[in-house]
């Protein structure tokens, strides 16, 4: 909880840079995993780098209007904001640049800035597919967010704080101190919500690549798409880090930097893998089906988590 100092700007930039690279590699790995499940060889590990550089290097571009132009900016601001408001690694100054600005409530609401930017940008493009996809996305978000909120309430009561740093700190000192083990019900509710937020199968009808081409950004191209792609590399990482922080003990700063990064990598990777695991195994839900799913089981688990936390703590 420090105040502002100028080196934090540098730290924040480095955080974003680090996460972009990490996100790209993660994308490569996930793509590879998807391919192996389909018995293919799959993309090269560095394929996402090619894609993103190619996209930034596009020569021509078109713009549908002011909001269309600003949409990706909003989107990226939202993604980068979450990243620098969330502690990536506990007590590491480099990865805690602006965590003093707010707690988990700030982060969970800041997510919507990106959503809004995307929705507005896609909307101004005037393409009906964008609007259809946005309605789907918002509807699904509204459905899964409630169980996430219940889970956050549950652990907030458990740890008596909503500061992410404090929550991580409370989980230190052994694997069994993780929320996963101290409050498994809340973790279950949150991890189901996580599936929805990652927009992977069975909840990927928002993007619906062939039916309403790639969802909200259907009209996006060139640098605009490049910015969105960059955001897409950091956004899942930011979300995953948030879940790791809240439910899997976060990442503490070990004596060895290497160990710290290995732990960071493993935790985020395996949390991410959970959505991939589900994604490759299940077919797609319709939107109304996924809403019904989310307001049934995850909600029930979330309510149990809150009630249990209320009784116990």
């Amino acid at each position: 909880m420090d105040g502002f100092s100028y080196n934090k700007i540098l730290f924040a930039a480095l955080t974003i840079f680090f996460t972009i690279n990490y996100g790209l590699i993660l994308q490569g790995i996930i793509g590879k995993i998807y391919a192996r499940v389909g018995r293919r060889i799959g993309i090269r590990l560095f394929q996402p780098y090619f894609n993103i550089i190619r996209q930034w290097a596009t020569r021509s571009a078109i713009s549908h209007g002011v909001m269309y132009y600003l949409g990706p900016v909003f989107r990226f601001t939202g993604g980068a904001g979450i990243l620098i408001f969330t502690p990536l690694i506990l007590d590491a100054p480099l990865f805690n640049s602006f965590t003093y600005a707010g707690d988990v409530v700030l982060v969970s609401y800041f997510i919507f800035l990106g959503t809004l930017g995307m929705a507005l940008g896609g909307g101004e493009a005037g393409h009906p597919y964008s609007a259809i996809a946005v309605t789907r996305g918002l509807a699904q978000t509204a459905a899964f967010e409630i169980s996430l909120m219940l889970a956050i309430y549950s652990i907030a009561v458990q740890y008596n704080t909503i500061s992410i740093t404090e929550i991580i700190r409370a989980q230190q000192g052994g694997v069994l101190n993780w929320t996963l083990f101290t409050n498994p019900i809340a973790t279950a509710a949150a991890m189901l919500a996580f599936l929805g937020s990652m927009m992977r199968s069975p909840f990927d009808v928002v993007l619906a690549p062939q039916e309403i081409p790639v969802g909200p950004p259907t009209e996006y191209q060139s640098q605009f798409l490049a910015m969105l792609m960059t955001n897409r590399t950091i956004f899942p990482v930011a979300k995953t880090v948030l879940y790791v922080n809240l439910f899997f003990g976060g990442v503490a700063l070990y004596d060895s930097y290497l160990l710290t990064f290995v732990v960071f990598f493993l935790k985020t990777f395996f949390v991410y893998l959970w959505s991939v695991f589900v994604g490759v195994s299940f077919p797609r839900f319709r939107v109304d089906q996924s809403i019904r799913f989310f307001i049934k089981w995850p909600l029930l688990i979330g309510v149990i988590a809150v009630v249990a936390a209320n009784i116990r703590y």
Partner: protein, 221 residues
Amino acid sequence: MAKMNYKKRWADLEKRIVVSPEGEEFEVDPMQDYFCDAKPRVHPPNKIAPLEKFANWCRAESIYILGFGTGCGAIEMRPLSSAMYDAYRFGVNWRATPRQATVFVIGGYASVKTMKRIVRSYEQMQGPKFVLGLCSCTINGGMYWDSYNTVNRLDHYIPVDVYITGCMPRPEALLDAIDQLKKRIKSGRAEGQNKYAENFEWYKANQKKIIKNWDMPDYSW
């Protein structure tokens, strides 16, 4: 006498009189008001050669194909994404919208009607964009060489980077063509977009010759 109403136009594209909420009447011309009618521009390569070379390398290694089946050859493209051929390992990916694709695979014969859509989709693609002509039909009309309704040579209408012969060519041929395209891109010769912009009038005249009811702006942005 022939009763056929051959020159019928789509009513939604005609000029129309509308009444504003204040009751004022004015004319809306969809072709003028709803479509951008700017001409395409030439986008020269980056003057810093190494940067351009690097960008070309990335462009070559990241090929986003427009998933748009224009003819019977399109069926040969599908196996590429299967485990058998797995084009993904060469950096190939499919996008469902021209806005985000870089390579347009013309899958076989192009009838006049299809040609109209091909032109439109091609113009809607961004960036350095590349065209693969699949099958003989794109080269000389193939078995439709004397058809009243199928174009004979594609490169009169849009610039083509690589042709693939055969009727049908196998997926391996397509993979090979992609390889050829990569080489072409890396060597900086695949400037089809600029060629199109430079020779825009010529291409347009050719297109308009066969597409008689030209009911769209000259360049579909």
